[in-house]
Amino acid sequence: MVFIEASELVKTYTPKGAPVVRALDGLSLQVPQGTVTALLGPNGAGKTTTVKVLTTLIRPDSGSAAIDGVDVLADPEAVRRMIGASGQYAAVDENLTGFENLEMVGRLYHLGARRARERARELIELFDLVEAQNRVVKGFSGGMRRRIDLAGALVINPPVLFLDEPTTGLDPRSRLALWDVIENLVSGGTTVLLTTQYLEEADRLADSISVIDGGRVIAEGTADELKASVGGQRVALTLVEADETEVVRGILQRYGSGEAVPSNEGKTWVVPVDDGPAALSLIVGAVTGAGLQLHDAGMRRPTLDDVFLQLTGHAAEEHETEQEAA
């Protein structure tokens, strides 16, 4: 059963003295009940705008959206009764304590004073914030702040949860901890739509990934399906010095089956190949034969990075100007 459905969403902005920005350009999306879907794309792709439409924060110019059959545009009030939203835009109050924030959210969901307090205490324990619960959020670390923010989205234990870039800006340890929390949540059957710029995050958390770019979905599927769609193996090598770029490119194109892509300032190269072991040995032979020193060389399966690059022609985690802020 489809739980979150967006169809042909269009949203345009006209920044002062600039051409019209099509933040959403006919985006359609279906999230089955009880599954996690990741919207994967770079800044400005339309991820946040999509979530803002689905959480009733902005109205699209055209298109429709429904959550559990309830029309988001016609009955936003009813939608708000069944969603939890967490993200950089839907913040917590910095001047309230962790407990006060959750209690306030509970009261505004109209749970009643007693139930709102009980629920705040439950969430404080669930999110391991007992020691910090009476401190103002302003003094929280980045990871704690995200936890209280996520807890705020869970106050009514909603059947559907929107997480907008839940781990952006967190250090790797906090990110891992938050992933554990999110995984626990979804094992309870909650339907989740999360947005991320991190391929690894989509790979780890999502049942299904929608790659978006330029305000529309350009590919959908499980992580494995998307990787398979890019096909074949890769040979990746890392040079000690980033020189002789054209020589390296020439060798890789000769033995590879596609375009060689440099990264890491030209030290690291990846090229798709047909027959992994044979290509690897030929490439290593040719590169060392050309007098270049190798740090590392090997075969690997395509990653979501490769998928993204192939689909959009640009890397996933590059930093563009955020154009979707509404």
């Binding site: 009880g34 009733t56 309830v70 708000r80 109209h110 749970l111 059947p159």
Partner: protein, 290 residues
């Protein structure tokens, strides 16, 4: 609401159920939401004491500066300057105090807390009620502090208790109505700083070109006419009348507003509320359309 049932069926397959709201009427929820957001704004005053300290120190400073510096130079026939001055300081302070609604609204929008509220099934108008209520409390506190300081430097309300209370109520009510205008502006600008700077530019002339600090009949004609029609003058004059601080034999301006200050202020309050309450609520509801 039809959706509660449909989401009930959806959550039946989940490990635990969605929490449901307690039964309540629309008006009860509106008042409850208004109280919760008011409480939030009051907590901010407690948690960020700078706001309160500056809001309270500034009027003390004004009372002392004006009564001691200008008091020596400005001669008010039939009264001492301090008695004349206090209503002016009261009016100026509460009008400036209400600008906080504008900058705080702009700040909350910027911080994303308004977006959080807008994803919740609460009454949007309650956010504005909470905002303007917060200002009312701050203004009430600064009135207390000013009256205390005024008492120390020799100000006395010589009217009845009823007149005194009516004066306080009129000042606070005017400022409250003004808060709604400021809240509306706060949602219309890009940053909280704009509100602070713009209100400075508008409110300083408005409060100074009035009868707040000097008798307006001594002003050059164009300024005098402006001062007589200035709503702040009507507010100050009303407060003076209600506190019993009108200098004996003081001339009254010819403008209708100068002749009928209390009525002018009441009409002003009614107009501000009638225009900016619905306008602010509509603006809040339309935040998602831009």
């Amino acid at each position: 609401m039809s959706t509660i049932e449909s989401n009930g069926s959806a959550s039946a397959r989940r490990a635990s159920a969605t929490l449901q709201p307690v039964p309540g009427s629309a008006i009860g929820r509106f008042l409850g939401d208004g109280w919760i957001t008011t409480r939030r704004n009051l907590m901010k005053i407690v948690r960020v004491p700078d706001i309160l300290v500056f809001t309270l120190l500034q009027p003390i400073m004004f009372v002392l500066l004006f009564s001691y510096v200008f008091g020596a130079a400005i001669d008010i026939p039939g009264s001492d300057y301090t008695s004349f001055l206090m209503a002016g300081i009261f009016a100026q302070t509460v009008v400036f105090g209400s600008t906080y609604s504008g900058s705080a609204m702009a700040q909350d929008l910027k911080d994303g807390i308004i977006d959080r509220f807008r994803t919740l099934p609460m009454n949007g108008a309650a956010v504005l009620v909470g905002r303007t209520n917060g200002d009312l409390v701050i203004n009430g506190l600064s009135m207390l502090v000013m009256m205390g300081t005024g008492f120390v430097v020799g100000w006395r309300a010589t009217s009845s208790v009823g007149g005194f209370l009516a004066g306080v109520a009129l000042l606070l009510l005017f400022a409250y109505a003004f808060s709604w205008l400021m809240a509306f502006l706060g949602m219309s600008v890009r940053s909280p700083e704009i509100i602070n700077n713009a209100s400075f530019l508008v409110l300083f002339p408005l409060t100074f070109v009035s009868n707040a600090f000097v008798p307006s009949e001594n002003l050059p004609t164009p300024l005098r006419v402006f001062a007589e029609w200035n709503p702040v003058s009507a507010l100050v004059q009303s407060a003076r009348e209600l506190f019993g601080n009108v200098p004996a034999g003081a001339p009254v301006g010819e403008a209708w507003t100068a002749q009928n200050p209390i009525l002018t202020v009441l009409i002003g309050i009614a107009l501000l509320l009638a225009v900016f309450v619905p306008l602010s609520i509509a603006k809040f509801r339309a935040l998602g359309r831009k």
